[in-house]
């Protein structure tokens, strides 16, 4: 049942710019470093002994922002597709469970964001090689910087999707989305428990993997809360 719903959901997001955003997000993050390194490469190379590591952390400084902004936009559009003509009543009166309807929306967005993360890794690697930062490519760190923010951002995806789907007034998810981006921008000053800080991979222990694991854990919890709330509600 989930597979059919997913196929339908991917058909519904046609012409809404989802794939373009999926591509543009990671490209933009790397493009900022193209400008950065294009303008002052010599200066930047002087800043550290490990050019690759330094380059990766530069790329990563914009990843959380792009990710959280992307989540806000994606969740808002995908909910709006059903909200626009209250297509929920049509969708839910099909022989499908409400749980799988919700799971399908989440899976579609999680997949798109995962594709974005893969593209981020590819773009980062390509430009890194182009910059000629050294023979020793740190694949482990490259993987971490590309995917840990994704896992760490899952609670934000669960929360934003829930808010966007159950809100009659789309001003609410847009407000929380904008707040999220502001939080992401000031991640350095936020306490560790704020989920908007997690994609920055900063924490008191200096272990990025903690954020990724916490993200998956809390992401699942918030997903379940959102799904059961959706199932419980009457469709107007």
């Amino acid at each position: 049942m989930l597979r059919q719903l997913l196929v339908a959901d991917f058909l519904k997001i046609k012409r809404k710019g989802f794939w373009l955003l999926t591509f543009l997000g990671p490209l933009g993050v790397v493009a900022l470093q193209m400008v950065n390194y294009g303008l002052r490469k010599d200066y930047l190379l002087q800043q550290s002994d490990n050019d690759w590591e330094y380059y990766l952390s530069n790329v990563h400084s914009f990843t959380p922002l792009a990710l959280i902004l992307g989540i806000a936009i994606f969740t808002s559009i995908i909910a709006n597709i059903e909200n626009e003509t209250n297509a929920w009543k049509q969708l839910v009166s099909l022989p499908v469970s409400k749980m799988s309807v919700y799971l399908s929306k989440f899976t579609a967005l999680a997949s798109l964001l995962l594709v974005s993360s893969i593209l981020l890794m590819v773009f980062t690697l390509l430009f890194g090689v182009f910059l000629d930062l050294g023979e020793e490519i740190p694949y482990v760190e490259l993987f971490q910087y590309s995917f840990y923010p994704y896992f760490a951002a899952l609670p934000i995806l669960s929360l934003q999707l829930w808010i966007a789907i159950v809100s009659k007034n789309q001003g609410i998810p847009i407000t929380t989305g904008v707040l999220g981006v502001v939080f992401a921008y000031s991640a350095y000053y936020l306490p560790d428990w704020m989920i908007w800080k997690w994609p920055s991979l900063m924490n008191a222990w200096g272990e990025p993997v903690v954020n990724a694991l916490l993200g998956v854990g809390l992401g699942c919890v918030l997903y379940l809360v959102g799904m059961f709330d959706f199932v419980r509600r009457d469709v107007k």
Binding site: V7, K12, A87, K89, Q90, L94, P95, V235
Partner: protein, 301 residues
């Protein structure tokens, strides 16, 4: 008797207000069931509960003799619906709209062409629904509801907002379905005139309560006939008749008499003529279904 839809004591409350109050609905196979009531009487809420979109506060719904609460998905495989304003994805074409639902319903691609043909939208199949007229969107909604060849079709106000020709078109389409496809149809409306020509059974709801449920013929029997006499001096005529013990009511220069036998009418006319009154007109008036409907819903209110 086997019912396609059977509800018992169906109740739904929104806060303190009771939208649907202990409603018992019975629909037999092959019927076109007209579900009537003024706006806000609880029609849409009832229909939403029949489809499992809303959970009743109490009472139960059985569709195809199965409990909706327990076998919702199984039941909905055999039910098509159009609830209130049509839902569609405006950025997709008519074909893509149906395709998105076809994937979920797992029917053949050929069926899309079939239903588009039935509602006569084949020509605009590859145009975006955004640019459709309301009538076309409504027809697309009906196409969607028939996509998986349901045995039960639930249409909530399918002619709402349509022009007269659109209403006739949809009415003709609906009328064909039970015979051609063996469907049972539940169709709601706030206007009796929209469905009195096609419905076989009617249920009238007012303030959440079912106040009448029977065949359309039974409803017609409720209609009362009146004899109307137009004479030159109504006051005097009324007086003469009352002297003979015949109850007449004089209003708006008309003399109204309740249903009488032909002989009695002849007698009255003769009597009035003999008393020197001029009779201009003798008419029989049958109150229309619309009148009965209005009377029913007014009495409840």
């Amino acid at each position: 008797m086997e019912y396609v839809i059977k509800t018992e004591g169906l109740t739904k409350k929104f806060g303190k207000e009771t939208a649907v109050d202990r409603l018992d609905m019975k629909i037999r196979k092959g019927e076109i069931y007209g579900f009537l009531g003024p706006n806000g009487a609880g029609k849409s809420t009832t229909i939403r509960m029949l489809l499992g979109l809303m959970k009743p506060d109490s009472g139960m719904v059985r569709v195809f003799n199965k409990d909706l609460k327990k076998e919702r998905i199984h039941i909905l495989k055999r039910v098509g619906s159009l609830v209130e304003n049509p839902s569609y994805y405006p950025h997709l074409t008519a074909y893509e709209n149906l395709e998105a639902l076809r994937k979920i319903l797992r029917v053949s691609e050929a069926r899309i062409h079939e239903v588009l043909e039935i509602v006569r939208l084949s020509d605009v199949a590859h145009k975006k629904v955004k640019g459709f007229s309301l009538g076309m969107k409504q027809r697309l909604g009906i196409a969607v509801s028939m996509l998986h060849q349901p045995e039960l079709l639930i249409l909530d106000e399918p002619t709402n907002g349509l022009d007269p020709s659109g209403i006739i078109e949809i009415r003709n389409l609906i009328q064909r379905l039970p015979e051609e496809y063996g469907m049972t149809i539940l169709i709601s409306s706030h206007l009796l005139s929209e469905i009195d020509q096609i419905a076989t059974t009617v249920g009238v709801i007012s303030k959440g309560k079912m106040i009448f449920q029977d065949s359309i013929h039974a409803m017609r029997k409720h209609s009362r006939q009146t004899i109307i006499l137009k004479v030159n001096d109504g006051k005097r005529a009324e007086h003469i008749l009352q002297g003979k013990g015949i109850y007449a009511n004089y209003q708006d220069s008309m003399l109204l008499l309740s249903k009488l036998s032909d002989q009695k009418v002849a007698e009255i006319v003769r009597m009035l003529v003999q008393n020197g009154l001029a009779i201009y007109r003798v008419e029989e008036k049958q109150s229309s279904l619309e009148d009965i409907f209005l009377q029913m819903t007014r009495e409840e209110a």
